[in-house]
């Protein structure tokens, strides 16, 4: 497929769990999946990067706190600031917050239990590099699994996120983890960096997911990249 020239990297940290599924989702979307190692600073000519779910560095200190300082993350931070699309899923979202590429932080679920379920979400921003293939207000179902998924930020930051339309996805139904304003995902000002607590990479095939609703995250970035002169 012609689109396979678009190399989308997935960083594996010690303790990453969902890197294989993220690579698979990239392939199903029609791009070329490229495994990246946390200890390598060179990003191998990838045009976009995904930080997968899991427990990087055992969640020592705070979830994502150690991963933020890995050599690969230095390149990801540089790339993100230059407009490269970056998607952080679950632990990847935590890493992006720790790296200050996204505002706020993720803390332990308010009910103190790990949550694992199929979760209904509303996509509220379809302008980002990772959500342009959704319709505004579209409701989707993808798996959610986290122990520290509560999104928090100070009221001024939350108000700014809402005012700027930077809430990418919101939980529908019961709030699964105590996230302020039921926020499931946010983006940066430029729309190239997205952090998401639920797992679209687990909902890309009928056989293994509750839906195929997650695939559009990965086709979205391809659509975004096709618009860039190669």
């Amino acid at each position: 497929m012609a689109l396979s020239k678009y190399r989308v990297g997935v960083v594996t940290f010690p303790g990453s769990l969902d890197d294989r599924d993220a690579l698979r989702a990239v392939r199903l979307a029609g791009a070329e999946p490229v495994p990246l190692w946390h200890g390598e600073k060179w990003l191998s000519d990838v045009v976009a990067v995904i930080l997968p779910g899991g427990f990087s560095y055992g969640d020592y200190l705070r979830a994502g706190a150690i991963a933020r300082f890995s050599p690969a993350m230095q390149s990801v931070i540089d790339g993100a600031r230059n407009g490269m699309p970056v998607l952080g899923i679950c632990n990847g979202f935590q890493v992006l917050c720790e790296a200050h590429l996204l505002p706020g932080a993720l803390i332990r679920n308010d009910h103190r239990k790990f949550v694992c379920r199929d979760q209904r979400l509303r996509i509220e921003n379809t302008e980002t590099a990772w959500t342009n293939q959704y319709e505004a207000g579209q409701e989707i179902v993808v798996p959610l699994k986290n122990g520290e998924g509560g999104y928090v930020a100070d009221p001024a930051t939350l108000d700014a996120l809402e005012a700027d339309g930077r809430v990418v996805a919101r939980y529908l139904g019961d709030n699964p983890n105590g996230s302020y304003r039921a926020i499931a995902g946010i983006t940066n000002e430029a729309g190239n960096v997205v952090g998401l607590m639920p797992h679209p990479e687990h909902a890309v095939e009928e056989l293994t997911g509750p839906s195929t609703d997650g695939l559009a995250f990965f086709t979205s970035v391809l659509q975004k990249l096709v618009g860039i002169p190669a």
Binding site: P103, I107, N109, R112, V152, D154
Partner: protein, 76 residues
Amino acid sequence: MARVVVDVVMKPEILDPQGQAILGALGRLGIEGVRGVRQGKHFELDVDDSVSEETLHRLADTLLANPVIEDFSIHR
């Protein structure tokens, strides 16, 4: 060489589910009168005398604590 202690606690306005779990366990232990528990982290660093206060502050502010959700104090 000096022993430097850095204590990190969640900001008062941030929910601390672990502290709440501990508070609940205290009740089951039969202890009364404890109104609140906040769990934090305690770091002991052995540092050379040449390490400045500014460096210690940077170390705590960028790695040991996440200033978005946590406060820290440094005791040299």
